[in-house]
């Protein structure tokens, strides 16, 4: 790593199965973009890659030439990354997070079955910093053609009622409101600003398990969509849950951007 950028981490499919011990699942925040990057370079879906925020990552290939691919804000076909060549990840044209997959995958030692770095409790490989050297695995297959449109169309975030929807008069203020992405959004949650969601029930909620995509409402009424590094339990009511296939949009929503929620049909 010549320059690690604002925040660069190793990610894969994450480590589900440890939430009962307080370990977040982690994993690539924009899962479809990460899957595409691995596919382009011929890696299996569970291969580890780099996730970086708003460009600025500069990496030198210290080994032999390899196929590599960049996805995220946009996506291009796999390219040959020559031995010794420096690769600079540009700021994405839209979105926040870019994925760099290299044939063979990043071969750091797994922790609890995953190579993902969790930024809440820092379980997993350490954060990538300037000077970090990362080992690569053996390439498994030939690169593949870009098989999906490079531009994905964001829509509203489809939500189902959450386990504590009855702590609120209705879902209407959530789904009719226009929400602004706050700059303190991160891998833990997409933090939103808008008309405060008011509770109809007072009191404290005993800590309970939280799912990926939970829309948690703290006392200030400003919702937080829980993303991959979210705490495994929480004490604020969950009004709604974002459908898993819409979560990639949360990974790519820039501070100041507006987002909407849509009521999803069940299933």
């Amino acid at each position: 790593m010549i320059g690690a950028g604002a925040l660069t981490t190793v990610q894969d499919l994450g480590r589900p199965g440890w939430a009962h011990l307080g370990v977040p699942r982690a994993g690539a925040l924009d899962a479809p973009a990460a899957a595409l990057a691995n596919r382009l370079v011929g890696n299996p879906p569970e291969s580890a890659l780099l996730e970086t925020v708003l460009g600025g990552l500069t990496v030198r290939n210290a080994g032999p030439g390899r196929w590599a691919a960049l996805t995220g804000g946009g996506a291009g076909p796999a390219f040959w990354w020559a031995a010794g060549a420096e690769l600079r990840v540009p700021e994405p044209t839209y979105g926040v997070r870019t994925y760099l997959a290299v044939a063979g995958g990043i071969a750091v030692a797994p922790v609890l079955g995953s190579r993902s770095t969790d930024t809440l409790a820092w379980v997993g490989p350490p954060r990538v910093v300037d000077g970090t050297t990362l080992p690569l695995g053996e390439p498994a297959a030939e690169p593949r053609a870009l098989d999906v449109p490079a531009v994905r169309r964001p829509g509203g975030l489809r939500v189902l009622p959450g386990p504590r929807a009855d702590w609120f008069a209705s879902l209407d203020p959530l789904v009719t409101g226009v929400w602004t992405v706050r700059p303190d959004s991160d891998r833990i949650g997409l933090r939103l600003d808008g008309p405060p969601l008011e509770r109809v029930r007072e009191g404290e909620l005993p800590s309970e398990g939280m799912v990926l995509g939970a829309v948690q409402v703290p006392p200030n009424g400003q919702p937080i969509v829980f993303l991959a590094d979210h705490p495994t339990t929480g004490g604020y009511p969950v009004i709604a849950v974002v459908r898993p296939d819409d979560l990639w949009q949360c990974a790519q929503a820039r501070p100041g951007e507006r987002v909407r929620f849509l009521r999803a049909s069940r299933g």
Binding site: P16, W18, H20, L21, G22, R25, P206, S207, G209, P231
Partner: protein
Amino acid sequence: MLAEVDSPEESAALADWLADAGLEADDVVPAARTVLLDGVDPGRAMALLETWPGGSAVRARRTVDIPVSYDGPDLPLVARRWEVSVDEVVRRHTSLTFTSAFCGFAPGFAYLAGLPEAWWLPRLADPRPRVPAGSVAIAGEWCGVYPTASPGGWLLLGTTDVALWDAASAEPALLAPGTQVRFVSA
């Protein structure tokens, strides 16, 4: 899917029972009054839940003794609120057997149930910016041991050297849900 139960002990028992019954899930997360069933087939999970006999008996797991230096800054406060001496606070805390009901807040941080309701005390109104690793503390219905240094508002009774979390181990949390815990004066 979120199953509601009456107590943390019942939550730990249900999570145990679901594991023994072979429920297929990404995660089963016991908590204070619920068990989260994440990544399950709702129909199958519901059918299984309907056959749960109930109760709060956890699977016989190991008992862990935790040596504590009772030198916490909140001991005098707890003694005042309980209207007893500091020695009596230590005697009471070491007389109990706690059950790890669930983990959360940080990897390996266990919420230990078993404090009698008459001894429940609210957390500090003004949390400390840094509670040292190994701090043994109480708040509300819970007792807990901080695996790493972090901000916290629980009442600090003492400290322990016991390692609570080792990500390289097959069983990374010393106080996994269901573990029986006793504190002994070091």
